[in-house]
Symmetry: C2
């Protein structure tokens, strides 16, 4: 028979998977001889069993719980529901990873109409006893049975009014008895039965409520944001009650072994005498700092400091502890590795190495890569932020904080920034022609679109803060105003946005610049030493490339050449190229673009020095470049000396039913090889130019959207004929490579063939995800929320690579590709390249590098190091 219940003394810290974090640490502390109230843990396996059984706790588990209970009763020398000295317990959830979304705690379980009198007699404090009971009824009804909390709050308010008192604490023992009677009536009205008097029924009800809370909406969202699998389940901890509210020699508190904000090494925390946990949080009374305990209760303080030090030394990490003092006696209720800011995480990790407590590799594992974001972007001034009230919330699409006046169009943003203003660009959604205005703005706020919308992707690439999909905003384009609720904002109003939280504020909140400390460099140095995966960046401009190089990028993994064509001085030639009716006309327009493109590449090569640069050839459908409004078409027609109808007809002809599945990628180069010729010339001439100045650039040309070897072969022939001719003409010796994106499922499926022509692979996981799942990221936004809610998806496949389906294709492609070409370089350049769990996956399947937006480069470096360490350890 499987063991579903462990007494604390039966467990230890290594059994976190089974006992949850809280349970494992309670067991560990118990075995270290620390003062932990007796108790037991119902395992995470009991939780998964509960779900397997169709959300029912089976009799086996119930039996084991009661057996555990009996043993703990024996130790405590008390009995459940006893009328003289009743045994009371707390019931707390505790998953493998800390999960704020779940049910937290039920206290005082075991109280009923009989045992409450026992508690009153025993403590000689009836008011205390009745207060415990009414709190229990309230919590149990709400958390376990789902009775609306407000019913109880209303009754308290009524009673206080009747009694003419203001504070809960002014209610007498008799008042509380009356309150209990009314609470029980509420319960009866709502549930149709009496409040359960049998403590065993109460207990099983509470355990079940913890299991249920594993799958509430908040928990699911939290898991998705933190990559926690739904299959883990939660454990339940049942623990003998100790009371911090038994008078002035009792108290309760929390403390950290180091400062969680800065990482400074000092005991940090606060406590409140004569209080239960929730009172500390409620903020009615101001807690005291932990240092004050030294003065008021030096023995307990000393005992606590000793325990704290032992725990930190034991776990070799900063501890976050909860404790209760019951009539002068200290009890430890919890210890865990404490949450900390990014800055503190790095300082603590580096300090612990200096203190000789952990190795450098362990230090690298201690920092969550995702946290680094906060160090790399400006943040709001903490004080100013405290005073501010958010007026709307969107998706945290690109981290950092910004404030500025509102601009509603990209042109306007560009113009006003030139005139010296700071602006936030507010748009329904952005499109490629907004690039310049987006780059000029302090931050970007969109009404529509998700985490992978155009605005989000581009903003992350630029390191500009962005809040996307803020549906509360209504833009009135005519009046150039926007409203949120009943407030209206004009272009003269300031707003502030926080791309790390998704919050939008009225007015200007000052920001503070990101500062990267020496500890950061130390830690990243350790990370770089251990990782085997290279980290490149996705960069389209020299500025981006330089920023990425500062962040440690080892080359450019993706330069999207199309972004270069939207600039004001180029779009017109681009459009002439597109609507050209003959090859000659097309070449003419391309000839205008070629020197500009060459200069772009010179800038990129120079920014990256000796590192490799991958240049992807033109990818998007051509209709993205042309105007669609009649007035704009008329303007273009005038400029091109064409009549309106002809031009409109040409532009209409570019319409596609499914642009994502249309005429784009290498299909453009197949139909218009002269585009590939122009781009090749630009790439090669730029390389020749910088190599003359002493660089040694080996350009890597990447052909997008290949699905068939002959497609790649065709374009490759065009590219190499053009390149070889040019190299010969210049009489230089220049090497170059031609590779391909693997972004169409068929390319992955035929990778053995593709590798015959491709000199490198780069996984375009955005498209590969879209095509493998058969949904576009734009359109999926409409139903993905329902998919999360119905537990069909646990995470956003556009943020974190789907390792099962898409990952299978990636694994196949790497394996098959290298069977054909053993030295094949494989990388990833999709948005996923900066996601830590994806980076780990990329390490595991043997990629050579990941490429991500500049601001995610440090994240990827750290994640790559962690993957390498985990990999080493698993061998």
């Amino acid at each position: 028979m499987k063991k579903f219940v462990y007494l604390f003394e039966e467990g230890d810290a290594s059994r976190r998977d089974l006992l949850g974090g809280k349970g494992a640490n309670l067991a560990e502390m118990t075995n270290l001889g620390m003062p932990v109230p007796y108790g037991f843990t119902v395992t995470t396996e009991a939780c998964t069993q509960y779900y397997d059984d169709g959300e029912k706790i089976n009799q086996d588990i119930i039996d084991q719980i009661f057996e555990g209970l009996k043993k703990v009763e024996a130790k405590a020398g008390k009995k459940f529901g006893d009328k003289n000295d009743p045994f009371l317990v707390s019931v707390r959830s505790g998953a493998r990873a800390s999960m704020p979304g779940m049910m937290d705690t039920i206290l005082n379980l075991g109280l009923n109409d009989v045992s409450v009198e026992g508690l009153a007699n025993l403590t000689g404090n009836p008011r205390f006893a009745y207060d415990c009971y009414r709190r229990f009824i309230q919590m149990y009804s709400d958390v376990v049975m789902g009775v609306n909390k407000s019913f109880f709050e209303k009754i308290i308010d009524e009673l206080k009014e009747e009694k003419n008192v203001k504070l809960d604490t002014e209610l007498t023992a008799d008042d509380l008895k009356e309150l209990i009677a009314r609470f029980k009536q509420v319960y009866r009205d709502d549930q149709g039965v009496d409040f359960p008097q049998d403590p065993k029924v109460q207990l099983i009800g509470a355990v079940e409520a913890v299991f249920r809370s594993w799958n509430n909406d908040r928990a699911i969202v939290y898991r998705r944001m933190n990559d926690i699998p739904g299959s883990w389940g939660t454990a339940v901890n049942v623990q003998s009650m100790v009371f911090g509210n038994m008078g002035d020699t009792s108290g309760t508190g929390v403390a950290f072994t180091r400062d969680p904000s800065t990482g400074e090494k000092r005991l940090y925390g606060e406590y409140l005498m004569n209080a239960q946990g929730e009172d500390v949080v409620a903020g009615v009374r101001t807690p005291q700092t932990i240092d004050q305990l030294k003065e008021t209760n030096p023995e307990v303080y000393e005992q606590f400091v000793n325990i704290a030090n032992s725990l930190e030394n034991h776990y070799c990490d900063m501890q976050d502890m909860e404790f209760t003092i019951e009539r002068g006696k200290l009890f430890m209720l919890q210890t865990r590795n404490g949450k900390r800011t990014a800055q503190a995480a790095i300082k603590i990790a580096v300090d612990l190495v200096a203190e000789g407590k952990i190795t450098e590799e362990e230090a690298v594992l201690r920092v969550d890569p995702k946290q680094l974001d906060a160090l790399l972007h400006p943040q709001f001034d903490a004080k100013a932020l405290k005073a501010a009230q958010a007026i709307a919330t969107g998706l945290p699409a690109s981290p950092g904080a910004a404030c500025g006046k509102i601009a509603f169009t990209a042109e306007e943003a560009t113009a006003r920034v030139k005139a010296g203003e700071k602006v936030i660009l507010v748009r329904l959604e952005t499109s490629p022609e907004d690039i310049e205005g987006m780059a000029a703005s302090e931050g970007i706020l969109t009404v529509r679109g998700g985490m992978t919308s155009h605005a989000a992707v581009v903003a992350r690439g630029m390191g500009t803060c962005c809040v996307a999909g803020c549906g509360d905003i209504v833009i009135n384009e005519e009046n150039m105003t926007m409203s949120i609720g009943d407030k209206t904002f004009t272009t003269d109003d300031y707003i502030s946005i926080d791309g790390s939280t998704g919050k939008v504020y009225a007015g200007a909140i000052p920001t503070v610049e990101a500062s990267i400390s020496g500890d950061f460099d130390t830690l990243m140095g350790w990370a770089d030493r251990v990782r085997t995966l290279k980290v490149r960046t996705n960069a389209d401009t020299p500025q981006d490339a330089i920023q990425a190089a500062k962040f440690g990028a080892q080359g450019i993994g993706l330069c999207r050449t199309e972004h270069m064509f939207f600039a004001e001085d180029r779009i017109s030639a681009m459009r002439r190229m597109i609507v050209a009716s003959t090859v000659e006309e097309r070449r003419e327009a391309l000839d205008v673009l070629q020197p500009m493109q060459r200069d772009d590449f010179i800038g990129l090569y120079e920014a990256m020095g000796s590192y490799p640069v991958v240049i992807r050839f033109l990818d998007p459908p051509l209709h993205e470049f042309v105007p669609h409004k009649d007035s704009e078409i008329q303007a273009l027609a005038d400029e091109m000396n064409l009549d309106f109808a002809t031009l409109k007809n040409t532009i209409d002809g570019l319409h596609e039913f499914n642009p994502m599945l249309g005429h784009r990628g290498c299909r453009l180069a197949v139909t218009y090889p002269e585009i590939a010729e122009m781009q090749t010339k630009a790439v090669i001439e730029a390389a020749i130019a910088v190599n003359k100045k002493g660089l040694n650039v080996v350009p890597e040309i990447m052909i997008p959207l290949v699905g068939e070897i002959k497609e790649l072969k065709y374009v490759k022939d065009v590219v190499s004929a053009t390149a070889d001719k040019l190299i010969k003409e210049h009489g230089v010796d220049l090497k170059y490579q031609i590779g391909t994106m693997i972004e169409v499922p068929r390319a992955a499926l035929t990778a053995d063939e593709i590798a015959k022509e491709a000199e490198f692979f780069s996984f375009g996981t955005n498209d590969l995800t879209q095509m493998t799942f058969g949904f576009s990221r734009d359109d999926a936004a409409k139903f993905l929320d329902i998919y999360y809610k119905k537990k069909i998806f646990e995470s956003d496949p556009f943020a974190k690579v789907d390792q099962i389906g898409v990952g299978k294709l990636m694994k196949m492609a790497v394996k098959d590709g290298r069977e054909t070409r053993p030295q094949l370089t494989c990388g990833i350049c999709g948005e996923h390249g900066g996601d830590p769990s994806t980076v780990e996956f990329c390490h595991n399947i043997g990629l050579n590098y990941v490429s991500c937006s500049p601001y995610r480069v440090p994240i990827a470096r750290l994640a790559a190091a962690q993957a390498a360490i985990k990999d080493k350890r698993s061998k």
Copy 2:
């Protein structure tokens, strides 16, 4: 060293792959002792070598050719370019399969200014010799060197005018000499060099021209249409000339051993005395029937009849032969299995079995499944067709012939057909709301769209003839007219269209009904006995189902329930369902649809009797059902008592960037489970109703577009809860199955998981192809032609399954799925299910059935039988 040249006596009929069809058969006839002019074959491997070498004939091949030439010269006792008795040859292409798209023949090669005199002296017929030479210059210049034919025709016309004669034959020997001089001048002007006088240069030039012609546009198109791989290459046959134009005892002709139109067993053919091959075709003189040869030249006739009989008996198939009589001596120039009509193919196959010459299985292999189309659809009356001139050509999208007056909208078509007219529906392109009008029309003609456009797919399903993508048509919607070139047609004009050829005719051409003969049934009976693959049909209506059952369908593999919702009496409830803002409103609308849908299913079950019926749940994006024009939205708003702005807003909200990758398939059932509930009720209630009447239906419910097991599980839970409740309520015992389409790459990749829930798989190869390649069939039409032209694709992946990429996914899915569920039924229900090469692939990967449109059921049955026979033989 590889052998690239085979003398005829060195080859035999089994070496078709190497020698091509013509070469292998010339070798076979030579070895059978038949009178074949000496010659040799340059192999297909020489052709592929030519392409591997960058379109150059290498020295090794040239040497072998000249060696072969020397041996043949020795046999003939003549010498190339000899001034007394010159050796002359014909050069003909000959691929493994007969390919009309390629270069056919160059005659009289070896003539030059010197040898022509030798020929004149030898034959005593200078006019004959000069005529041979001028023909050779003309052919060689055009075919080998690409000199424009019209130059030569113009010179002939000029000379005839100068000489004041009307016919070529009236030109004298001297005239022809003059003509030769002028021809050579044209050649010099065009090519910058003199016409080649060295016969060896002429020969290599001709061989190279044959190789080149393998990849001309016509050949590529022909290969694509006939599934011939581009890698095969063509052989070249170099053969001693014999002359049918050496006077009245000479002649040339073609004959078949059976009538190629009817299959009747009799020698059938025609010949012309004193003529070369091209004269028979040119039609200046009327050829004589082969029977007349019996009277004019009984010995030759008898010899020919004997040869013909031997050849048919030898090859056990109807032969198509070319012969030449030179001064009373018979020479065989070619024999091959003759092309024949579908009707003839069946009769010949069945007759040959009766004659004991082939087995039933061989008979089954003898009929090309694609040919059957012609037997199943009406065709134009052959005589009337001869007199008609096509005015435009589109794609042959759905076979059959039809005529009617023009209707420009589906509503108009429906109304006019009700009023007793016959109409052809002419549209830019069709959409789902046109279904009723399409069904009512005699035929469908569209301006846009390819072989797999909506019009094409639906028309094939209905068995209605359709010409799609006829870009020559300009529709003027306002005037209700269309024009082709300078002709304008109104709704009062008749047109006729041929869906088997893509041709469009002005006026009404009478049609004749398809007639299926007893031989057809005999042959199909043999096919059914041998095949293991079942054939089901895609049918949405009882009419379709009944038609398919007549054609031998063994069940319905795909019923697309959405097609049922476009009917006039349903679309309104459907629209109310779609724009509903609450679940209750949605249910209300669904309640209206449910009984209608139930009755549909009753009809289908009854039509299929004991055969299985697979019902696919709602699949297309919802915006396909709602109106998009303001006026129509207003009308709907009025009907629904909604204000226009609200409704328009709702409808705009349904817009998708990439509908193919949007909110459709099972995603609809996940977001609106009530739709799946309604459809389940309809399926189950219908089954209960018909089973009460004595049927034993086991409905198969198919969930579309699944990509993740949890998606399927979610919908399956909804379906089975609804079904089980209903079955219980009715107190009956009803089995049902729930399966899924495999049409998203991820479903194929995770088939082992999917099979845990899916009770059957059906490959939706349309979507699977789109997503695996990353292009939609609508949008790909724009660039696929260029892909064919540039030899990137050899066939349309939407017509014939891509066995390499898509096929790999299919194989994986079948294998992995059956590992989970060994008895898993696997089928295919995409458009590909009726394509013979795909049917063979489906047999080979172990599918249980293919499902195709009703009119393709016999094709699939025959193809399945052929696959089974080939499979058996390969083991």
